[in-house]
């Protein structure tokens, strides 16, 4: 019986957010779509997130941001990803991110930003169709 290739995802919350309802909703949706989701909880540092992404060899990194610190945290994470040679990981972000900041985030390598209230199947399908690594 062939083992089918599973998509491994890391759902992480950088920064000092205090609630993770949204992140958990996305994590569950990805799991229900057949993916293996590593969930690391609240208040992760950029270093912790990137190291985890590397150890778990994830295909996609989903960053959940509520604190508005996206302009400092996300670039820092993308730099660390580059340093650790993790350029083939799809990186997406979700949460409270102002529209006008999205182009800059895309420039640094965040493939897509999903606002609050995005239907989970939109996120799931995006991940399925945009993985950088071949299955």
């Amino acid at each position: 019986m062939r083992v089918e290739r599973k998509i491994r995802a890391l759902v992480a919350k950088p920064g000092l957010n205090s609630h993770d309802r949204g992140a958990k909703v996305v994590a569950r949706a990805l799991r229900d779509a057949g993916m293996e989701v590593i969930y690391t909880g609240l208040r992760q540092t950029s270093e912790q997130i990137v190291e985890t992404a590397m150890q778990e060899d994830v295909d996609v990194l989903c960053l959940s941001i509520l604190s508005g610190a996206h302009m400092t945290l996300l670039p820092r994470i993308m730099n660390l990803m580059k340093e650790k040679d993790l350029n083939d990981v799809l990186v997406i972000a979700g949460g409270i991110v102002p529209e006008e900041d999205i182009p800059m985030l895309k420039q640094i390598g965040i493939a897509e930003v999903f606002g609050p209230g995005t239907p989970t199947d939109v996120t799931v399908n995006y991940v399925r169709n945009n993985l950088k690594r071949k299955l």
Partner: protein
């Protein structure tokens, strides 16, 4: 960018962390080259001390492992952790949340943590886990913790492959304790009563002590019962002492245990390979669907169907 199995093996032996991660993925996905990679790494294994950690959900295994890891890190030892969680039988996906309790270890270069889903394979869990342990062993880990929920036979098999099996219980988990006593107590080398600050801790310890007294098989090693409060690291030092005691005990017993483990690994591998091969062949047999319908309409019992199909498959070979 794909990595060749050779590169990955070299990477692991050169202590390159990303190679470890990549090879683990290849093994879990049963990439064709991963078998060769494991064979090449196998001679470099056997140095790590492995601890299987099991017990009911909520007993505090992950927090406890984190505390133990910190103790071993103080002594400069390299730690590997594999945390196994169940895959959903419906979606095939998994929510792997054990790292939540272990995140402080993430940026310690001397620790490698990997989350694994059970994936519902035909008894292949123990084999995959053993292979991942081999990778961490060859990578240079001095001690490797494997954590499972211990809810099923596959998971029990996983911990049977460890040098020391640590059973983690907690007071107030009620019926779970009864259920666990039935099966897993026999394989526990060290019993931990975590969350020992809770009300029923004493009663839990007495129940466990009683259950152990009934176990007359083991004479050479009496499993100690250790109280801990993982969240405050209380009892962690004493637990490390007990781990080291068991480790010495195993060393004195010589090859016996290693050979037993070797046999378990061999049989697991044989079972897994057989199952894969045979089921694949069965499913493409023209009479397969028909058999299934006959079973559903009660014309044929599953065992008979299996015998018929297997005879056909074996005949073909």
């Amino acid at each position: 960018m794909t990595f060749s199995a050779k590169d990955l093996v070299q990477g692991v032996l050169n202590r390159h962390r990303r190679s470890v991660a990549r090879l683990m993925t290849a093994i879990e996905n049963e990439d064709p080259n991963s078998r060769a990679a494991i064979s090449e790494l196998y001679p470099h294994t056997g140095n790590a001390y492995t601890v299987g950690v099991t017990g009911p959900p909520g007993s505090g295994k992950s927090t406890l492992i984190t505390q133990l890891a910190k103790q071993y890190r103080k002594e400069g030892q390299k730690v590997g952790i594999i945390a196994v969680d169940p895959s959903s039988p419906f979606s095939g996906g998994a929510f792997l949340g054990d790292r939540i309790r272990m995140q402080e270890l993430s940026t310690d270069e001397g620790v490698f943590v990997r989350s694994m889903a059970t994936r519902g394979s035909l008894g292949g869990l123990a084999r995959s886990t053993a292979d991942l342990v081999s990778v961490l062993d060859a990578f240079g880990c001095d001690i490797i913790f494997v954590e499972t929920v211990g809810a099923g036979q596959s998971e029990v098999d996983v911990v049977r492959l460890a040098d020391t099996v640590m059973l983690v219980m907690a007071p107030g988990l009620g019926d779970d304790i009864q259920a666990i006593k039935a099966g897993i107590m026999e394989i526990g080398d060290i019993i931990v009563v975590n969350k020992a600050d809770r009300e029923n801790a004493e009663r839990t310890m007495l129940e466990i002590a009683e259950a152990l007294e009934l176990d007359t098989e083991r004479k050479e090693w009496t499993p100690p019962i250790v109280k801990t409060i993982a969240t405050s690291s209380e009892g962690a030092e004493r637990l490390v002492e007990k781990l080291e005691e068991h480790r010495s005990f195993l060393r004195k017993s010589g090859m016996g245990r290693r050979k037993m483990k070797g046999e378990i690994q061999l049989l697991e591998a044989v079972k897994a390979r057989l199952a894969e091969k045979v089921v694949a062949d069965l499913r493409v047999d023209p009479t397969y669907e028909n058999m299934v319908e006959k079973i559903a309409s009660r014309q044929l019992d599953p065992n008979e169907a299996a015998t018929i199909l297997l005879n056909k498959v074996i005949e073909k070979k």
